[in-house]
């Protein structure tokens, strides 16, 4: 899994490229958590092709950390198969997912 900080100004955009599975989830979780501060974060999910239970645990730990730091996180453009798993496990209610990065940016600009 490749984790890239694509943008870091008034907001951060972090893109994921690869699978969030048992071999990648712990590192991905640590890399994303290390990037969390007060700035709003958009996680670009378009190239995240797979999420298993270890990936869900990583996403939950990221959500818990973000909440405790007061960081707002929006997940942009998750693929259908990933949304399917998020729905099945109720994660779709915990994680804020939108259809595009532009939509996430609009939500953050309206919030300010």
């Amino acid at each position: 899994m490749k984790v890239t900080l694509e943008r870091n100004d008034d907001i951060k955009i972090i893109s994921l490229d690869g699978q969030l599975d048992v071999s990648t989830s712990d590192n991905t979780r640590d890399e994303i958590i290390a990037l969390l501060d007060k700035k709003p974060v958009i996680v670009s999910m378009a190239k995240c092709t797979y999420v298993s239970s270890s990936g869900l645990r990583a996403l939950l730990m990221i959500a818990k950390t973000a909440k405790s730091k007061g960081t707002k996180v929006i997940y942009a453009e998750p693929i259908e198969e990933v949304v399917d798993v998020l729905k099945m496990t109720g994660f779709i209610k915990m994680l804020h997912c939108v259809g595009s990065i532009a939509e996430a940016e609009r939500e953050f600009s309206h919030a300010n």
């Binding site: 071999s23 298993s52 239970s53 645990r57 818990k64 198969e81 798993v85 099945m88 496990t89 209610k93």
Partner: protein, 138 residues
Amino acid sequence: MLKNLEFPAKREVLPKMLATITAEITKYTGDDKWINRLKICSEEILVNIIDYSGSSNVFISCEFVNDALRFEFVDEGKPYNPLAEKPDVDIDAGIEERGIGGLGIFLYTTIMDKMEYKFEDGKNHLIAIKNLSGKLVD
């Protein structure tokens, strides 16, 4: 059909196991959602065997019977029935309340139509069946 295909029960072999299983699944269905769901179930079951069973090897079978895929995962580790305990997963819990445990078994018991465990000939057998009617390739 995969018949008792043997792999070393090691994390580094998991991608090969999953690629083999996924290639088999795609012979029967082209439905990406179901290919993904069945790959997830296989990962969850195999990770448990690799990490906790103590078995050196895992044996994988996958056959197509009556419009259904029947998976069988066999290991030679200590007897363990993963279906004995219902996972404690609250899908309505909020971020703070939500626990990290039980998600793997929750996923495969939710996705599969039928699961069965038996300890036979000194081996753990976990059988998972999913009917694919309406999702089959022509």
